[in-house]
Each structure stands twice: as C-alpha cells, then as structure tokens.
C-alpha cells in the first residue's frame, strides 16, 4: 500500500497531521496533562518514527539514485553504452529519474549503435538498407550522412552491377556512369571502366585470333601480352597446337579409312579435355557410322540367309535412309515371298487357278513371279484337262480321254488318266457280267438259307421235346435213387439174416461133415471088402480057368471055384448093398451136406447176392447220380444245342436277308453299271434275279420253347445219342436234320431198353 515514495510521504504526513490533530484535539479538548503528554509523547514518537521512516524512504531512493547515476556516467565514459540504470530500487517516485536517465541514454545509444552498426556493415562491405527511422536534429544529420554514404556505395555497386550485368548480357561496351559519382568514387568508377576496357581489348584480340582459327587459319598470331596476360598467348598457342594436331589426326584417320582400314581411330590419348572429347567424338561418330553400316549389313546378311524378320534399329535423322533402303529391300523380298507363299498355300489348299500379281513387283522380282505363274500354268494345263476328263468319268462317261499334247512328265498324267479310263471301262464291263452271277448266286443262297432256317426251327422243336423228356427222366432218376436207397436198407437187413443163416448152416455142415467122414470111413472099409470080393472073384475066375484047363479033373475044382465066386459075389453084393446103404447115407449126408452147402451157398449167395444187390444198388445210386449228372450234361448240351439252333436260325435268317440284300445290291449294282456310258459293244444285260423275300419259317427262337411239332419221334431218336458225348448236339442236330425226312415209327417217348439206358449212363 505504501509502495511509492509519494504515497509513503503522503501517508506519513497524513499521519503526522493526524497526530497533530490528535494533539491539537487533545489540547483542545482539554485532556489531562498526563494524557496530553502521553498523547503528545505518542504523537511525537510516532512523528519521529514517521519522520525516520519518511526520511528513510526519501533518502534511500535518492542515494540509490545518486549511485546509479554515477555508475551510469562511468559506464558511458568507459564506453559501455549498454548500461542502464536499474529503476527497481529507486522507488516509485525516483524510478522515473532512472528511467529518464535510461531513456536519455537510449536516445544517444541507439543512434550511436545504429550508426556503429551501419558503419561496421559498410566497412565489411555489407551495404545495409537506408535508415528509415526518423530522427530529430543531429541524429537526423547522422542518419542523412549515413544514408548518403549508403547511397553512394550502393550506387557504385549498382552501376558496377549494371555494367557487369550488361557485360554479361553481351554489351561489352557498357561503362559505369561517371557522372553519378564524385570524388574517389568517380575515380574508382573510372578506374573500373579503364580496366574493363583494357581487358576487353585483349579479349577482342584473342578472339580475333580465335576467329581466324574459326575460319580455319591456324596461323593467326597474337601479340605477346605482358605479365600474367601471357597465359592468353599460351592458351592460344595451346589451342592452335591442339587443333592442328587434331586436324592432322583426323586427316590421318580419314586417309586410313579411305584406304580401307575402317578400324583406324584417332589416338585420343594425345589429346585432353575437349579435344580428347572431340577425338573421341570423331572416333565415336565414325564408329557409330561404321556400326550403323555393320548393322545394316548384318540385316542384309540375314536377308541373305533368308531371315527377313531381322530387325534393323531405327537410325535417327538422316541415317533413316538406310532404314528406308533396307526396308525397301525387305519389303520387296517379303512381297516376293508372300506371293510365293500365297501361291504355295493356294496350290496346297487346292486353288490351283490362283496366280500371283506380277505387277506388284519390280525388275527381277517381277520376272520371278511371272516365271512362277507360267510354271503353274504349264503344270495345271494337263492337270485341268485330266480333271475335266475325270469329271466326265464321274458323270459316268467312261469314253472321255485326255487329248492334249504334253511333254515330258506332263504327259504322265495324261497317260495315267487315259489308262484309268480304259481300265475302268473294261472293269465295269466285267462287273456287269459278274453282277449276273452274283444275282443268281444270291438267289441260291436265299433258298438254302430258307432251308437251313426251317431245319433249324424243326431242330429247335425237337430240342424242346428232348428237354421235356430229359426232365421226366430226371424225375425218374430221382425216384430210382430213392428206391435204391430203400433197397439198400432191405439188402442190408437181408444180408444180416443171411449171415445168421450162414452160421447156422455152417454148424449143420459141421455135423454133416462128421457124418460124412464116418460114412466115408465106412465106405473105405466097404471098398476094401469090395476089393477083396473082386480079388476073390478074380481068384475064382482064375480057378475056373485052371479048372477048365484041367478039364474033367477040374470039374470039382470048377464047382469050388464057382462057389467061391458065388461067395465072392455074395460078399460083393453085401458089400455093394452096404456100400449102397453107406452110399445112400453118405449120399443123403452128402445131400444133406450138399443141401447144407447149398443152403449155405444159397445163404452165401443171398449174402453175396445181397452184397451184390448192395453193390448194384450203390451202382444204381451212383448210376442214378451219374444219370442225374448225365441228364444235367444232356440238359446243358441240349441248351447248347438250342442256342446253336437259335443261332443257326438267326444266322439263317441273317444269311437269308443278306442274300436278299445281296440280290438287291446286285440289282443296284447292275443299274449303277448301266448308268455308265461305255463304248458301244456287245454287252449282255445283267439278268438280275427277281428280288424275293425268302419265306422264313416262323421265328425259330419262339418255336424252340413252345409246343413243338412232331415231338416224340425226334426226342426218341436224338436223346440216346445225345447223352453219349458233349459234342453230340452237333451230331444229333445233323441227325435230326437228316431224320427230318424219315421220322422213325416208334410211338413211345423212350423207344429204348431201360436197362440199356442205365448201362449207357
């Protein structure tokens, strides 16, 4: 609140006033003396304090101010124009003093600084822009002076710039306008003009020499220039030398090129810089031209190899004439090739009347095209005529012949066509005859096919019969098998019984045997007795003989002998009787034995028979099996036969229809042949057999399965043979067909022995 000195002072005075007032009041009021003293004391104190405060607040700033101003003065003297007073500690009332000082200093310092700056810049050569700030009085004079200085300098610069600019633009006569300057500036400007003029003179002289160089005169010289300008002479001489060398090199190179060494180049190492560049350029140019030539020649070489697609790079500018020329050649050749190709294509694709347009070509190309055209004409003439004749042939006029006269190979086609015509003519004549024969043959075929077809249908019918017969046989076979089984069972039982009987009989036989043995023993004894009787008989006879010999004397002996004989006879008789009895008993025993044997034998036979029966039954069973198998085979065979029959029937139908077709074809053929015009000669009209549809028997396939015609006899005759072998079907078919005319007389379906059939199976 009390910041500013003024305020402070004010406040203090106010307070003092107050205090005074207080005192006064107090006095007025009539306060006690003590209080009044107090108040006055307080007021005094306060006033003292205030006075101190106030004085402080006044003296301090003033001291500060003084110090500051002293400092600033010394700073200025020292040249530090940037120093400024610090107003902050001066208090509010004295700050303006400092500030004023500052401002004063500013007022001086700024122009001085500006001036210093400008002068400094000018001294460095950096012409600053004119001072635009406005100044008063002396400052303004400074400003004006500075500005004038600037103007002068700037003016000089401008002039010099203008001059240099004009010189740069080409006006080398431009000079600095001396009038714009004064004093040393003018001198400077003059000096510049002079110097520039001198330099220009030298340049003109040097250029004069170069001009001579430019005209081709390398002998022009330049007066020797002094001092450092001597370099101009040196340079001109250098240039002269370089140019002369270059020209010499160029001449040498061109000479060599003329002589044929197109690889000759300028030795670029002898030159430097632009001359080297020029030499290189010349080399490059020549090389370029040669390259172009080489490319063009390469293209032409490709043309020479037949490759007309070889590209040629487009040469720029006037070198394009090379392209033009090459392209012209390419086009001509291509056109020729195109035309030739076109002719080839036309010829290959059959447009033989196509010719190329020779007018599109020139010179020898035209000749070539013309020649090709003529060739084609020459070749086509006989071909065309031949084609015409062939067309006439196609119109069935075989009398046409090629009449033109041709030479060499052209005549070949003529001869060939004519020969063809004759051959065709003759051939057709023969064909006409052949057609006849074919017609009649086809009729025959039709007839036989018909026969085959009907035969096949009958065969099919009989096959059906066979099949049904086989089926019944099969059923019976089954029955047989069953019966065989039953019989087998019975046989087994019988065998068992027989075996039992056999063993009983054996026992009986044993007893018989014993009887027989004893009988035989007895018999043996009887036999002995018989022998004795026999011998006795003999003895008796001998005795009789002796008696007879003895005559009368032997009569008694004879009687004895007779008696003995009769005894013997009796013994014999007895023995015989006994023997008879024995024999009878033996016989009976024997008979018994025999009977037993017979019985045993019979039983054995029965057993054997039963075995045999079993075997036979087994055989029957296997036979039945075989029968079944056989029947199956037969069935298969019959099926096969049926198939074959059907096939036969179909084939017969086919062949029949084929025959009728053949007939028709023969007719057509005959009419076709008749369509041909032949030279008038003896030609028998082909007698085509009338086209008749052979009457086939009703579809044989269906007949095979349905109720057959004349069934039984056929089946009977074919079955037994049929079952013998697999290939019987063919045989039986043949037999069936042969038997067609002679049906057998048997009526029953199986005119064959049952046993025989079994045996057959």
């Amino acid at each position: 609140m009390f910041h500013g000195t003024r305020s402070k002072l004010l406040a203090a005075f106010t307070l003092m006033a107050l205090l005074v007032a207080v005192v006064g009041v107090a006095g007025i009021v009539g306060l006690s003396h003590a209080l009044l003293y107090a108040v006055t004391g307080c007021a005094l104190a306060t006033a003292v304090v205030l006075a101190l405060i106030v004085s402080r607040s006044v003296t301090r700033p003033i001291a500060f101010l003084t110090a500051e101003s002293r400092r600033l003065r010394e700073a200025v003297l020292a040249g530090k124009l940037d120093e400024r007073g610090d107003a902050t500690h001066a208090g509010a009332e004295f700050a303006p003093v400092i500030e004023g000082l500052n401002e004063t200093m500013d007022a001086f310092a700024k122009p001085i600084a500006v001036t210093a700056e400008y002068v400094a810049r000018i001294s460095k050569g950096d012409i600053p822009p004119k001072i635009t700030d406005s100044y008063e009085g002396d400052f303004n004079r400074i400003k004006e002076a500075l500005n004038r200085c600037i103007d002068s300098l700037a003016g000089l610069m401008d002039e010099m710039n203008r001059m240099s600019g004009e010189h740069e633009r080409g006006d080398i006569d431009a000079l600095v306008d001396l009038q714009k300057f004064e004093g040393v500036y003018r001198t400077m400007a003059q000096g510049v003009n002079d110097m520039v003029g001198a330099h220009i003179a030298v340049k003109k002289k040097a250029m004069g020499v170069f001009a001579e160089f430019g005209k081709g005169n390398f002998d022009a010289t330049l007066e020797p220039l002094p001092g450092k300008k001597r370099f101009i002479n040196d340079t001109i001489d250098q240039v002269r030398k370089n140019l002369k060398d270059l020209i010499a090199e160029l001449n040498r190179m061109s000479g060599e090129h003329d002589a044929g060494d197109i690889d000759a180049t300028i030795d670029t190492h002898r030159f430097h810089g632009a001359y080297r560049a020029m030499a290189e350029g010349v080399n490059k140019m020549v090389g370029g031209h040669i390259a172009v030539k080489k490319k063009a020649m390469a293209c032409v070489a490709e043309f020479g190899r037949g490759n007309f697609k070889a590209p040629l790079e487009k040469f720029p500018g006037k070198k394009a004439f090379i392209n033009e020329t090459i392209e012209q050649v390419r086009d001509s050749l291509k056109a020729l090739i195109t035309d030739a190709d076109g002719l080839v294509q036309a010829a290959v694709s059959g447009k033989l009347s196509t010719r190329a347009d020779a007018s599109k070509h020139q010179g020898d190309f035209r000749k070539i095209v013309d020649g090709v055209n003529k060739t084609l004409d020459a070749v086509m003439a006989p071909i065309n005529e031949a084609a015409q004749v062939l067309e006439q042939f196609s119109q069935r006029d075989l009398r046409a012949r090629v009449a033109g006269q041709y030479q060499g190979d052209h005549a070949r086609i003529k001869e060939s066509v004519n020969a063809t015509g004759m051959a065709l003519h003759d051939a057709l004549a023969q064909v006409a005859q052949a057609v006849d024969q074919v017609s009649s043959a086809s009729t025959q075929i039709a007839a036989s096919s018909q026969a085959v077809a009907s035969g096949a249908s009958e065969q099919a019918a009989s096959l059906a019969e066979t099949t049904s017969s086989i089926e019944s046989v099969s059923a019976m076979t089954k029955q047989t098998a069953d019966s065989a089984q039953q019989a087998n069972e019975l046989a087994k039982a019988a065998r068992t019984a027989a075996t039992d009987g056999s063993s009983a009989v054996e026992q009986m036989q044993g007893a018989m045997g014993k009887i027989k043995a004893s009988a035989e023993g007895t018999s043996q004894i009887i036999k002995d007795i018989n022998d004795i009787a026999f011998q006795t008989n003999l003895l008796a006879l001998n005795a009789a003989v002796e008696a007879a010999r003895a005559g009368e004397a032997g009569r008694g002996f004879a009687v004895v002998a007779e008696e003995v004989r009769s005894l013997a006879l009796r013994a014999k008789e007895a023995a015989t009787k006994t023997e008879e009895l024995i024999r009878q008993s033996v016989k009976e025993a024997g008979q018994g034995e025999v009977t037993a044997k017979q019985v045993a034998g019979k039983l054995g036979e029965i057993a054997g028979g039963v075995s045999k029966v079993s075997d036979i039954i087994a055989e029957i069973a296997s036979g039945a099996q075989a029968q079944s198998t056989g029947i199956e085979q037969v069935t298969r065979a019959v099926t096969e036969m049926d198939k074959v029959t059907q096939q036969n029937a179909a084939s017969a139908e086919e062949s029949s229809s084929a025959a009728s077709e053949l007939s028709g074809q023969a007719e057509e053929l005959a009419s076709m042949v008749a369509a041909f015009q032949l030279h008038s000669q003896e030609r028998t009209n082909p007698t085509v057999a009338p086209r008749k549809a052979p009457s086939l028997p009703p579809s044989t396939a269906s007949v095979a399965r349905s109720a057959p015609v004349r069934p039984s006899q056929r089946a009977g005759t074919t079955v037994p043979r049929g079952v013998r072998s697999e290939d019987a079907p063919a045989a039986s078919a043949r037999q069936a067909s042969t038997r067609m005319a002679h049906p057998p007389k048997a009526d029953d379906p199986f005119p064959m022995d049952e046993a025989k059939s079994l045996v057959d199976f």
């Binding site: 026999f534 008989n537 006879l541 007879a548």
Partner: protein
C-alpha cells in the same frame, strides 16, 4: 449065377460052327460091349499091375508087365479095336492069354475094362458073326455072337485079333524087355 447057365435058346443058322463054338468063355467088357474069350486060351486073370510102356511101340501095345518074373506084353484091345484108350480103373484087369501064332506060343495080356464071368455058351446061344459085306474083312476075329439073357457077347478069336506082323512086333517087344 443064374447067368452061369444061360437060359436062352435060339435056333442058330449054322449049328456046325456054333456048336464048335459052344463052350466056356471068359467074358469081359470093353466100353460097355461084352466080349468073350475061349477059356482055354486064358491062363490067368490078374488085377492091374504097373504097365511099363515101351518106347516107339505101336499104339496098341500098351506096354509090358512083370508077372512073377515073366515079362508079358499087354495089348490094349480098345486101341486095337479102334476105340480110344482110356485110363485104367479099379475094374481094369489084364487077361493073360496064351495064343499060338505061326506055330509059336505067345503069352500076352489084354487090357480090358472089366472082367465079368465065365459063361458057358450052348450052341444055340451062339450066332454067327454079323455079315457086314466088305467091312467084314477085318472082323474075322469075331468067332461069333453069344447071347445071354440080357446081353450080346462078341466071341473073339485071339489069334485073329493080331496080324502076323503085329504078333512079331509083340514078341519083339516082349523079347526086348
């Protein structure tokens, strides 16, 4: 025994011959045919002994037998008569005969199938041999035909059975043995 005295009596055509033939005959059988030989010609009857065959002997000579030390040829009458030879049976006997051939006495045996009995033929029981015309040329050895009640017996003459040649052969055969 009843046959010992044959009952048959029939008038013979040639009683001379037949009466000469009357007598006792030893009858034997050959293949069911009865034959008789004069009993006086018979020496003995023996059962079958082993007959030794003679090599290269004629067929009718069956062989020889050894009768008590004597070698006697045996003739197979069957073969002689043209019948086929048979094998011997237990009835087969050899009748040993004594025959006179060309003045010589020849003992021979004949092989017969069976010996029967001694038959005593009366003249009336004997018929003369059958007349076979030309065929009877070889049958003169049949003396006659004897008849018994049931059968006919050919009475043979031994001497005529064999021819002279055969007899000599027989003798030769016997001698060799």
């Amino acid at each position: 025994m009843s046959e010992l005295v044959p009952v048959v009596g029939e008038a013979s055509v040639q009683p001379n011959v037949c009466s000469a033939l009357a007598g006792r005959y030893m009858s034997f059988q050959l293949a069911d045919e009865d034959y008789g030989l004069e009993i006086l010609k018979v020496r003995e009857i023996i059962g079958l002994l082993e007959i030794t065959r003679i090599p290269r002997a004629p067929a009718f000579i069956r062989g020889v037998i050894n009768l008590r030390g004597r070698v006697i040829p045996v003739v197979d009458l069957r073969v002689k008569f043209g019948m086929e030879a048979t094998a011997a049976t237990e009835q087969t006997v050899v009748i040993v005969l004594q025959v006179a051939f060309a003045g010589r006495a020849l003992t021979m045996g004949v092989l017969v199938d069976r010996v029967l009995e001694v038959l005593n033929f009366e003249a009336s029981a004997i018929e003369p041999p059958p007349d076979l015309g030309q065929a009877s040329a070889g049958s003169d050895f049949i003396l006659g035909v004897g008849k018994t009640a049931h059968r006919v017996v050919f009475l043979l003459d031994i001497a005529k059975i064999l021819s002279g040649e055969e007899a000599s052969q027989l003798a030769q055969a016997a001698a060799q043995q």
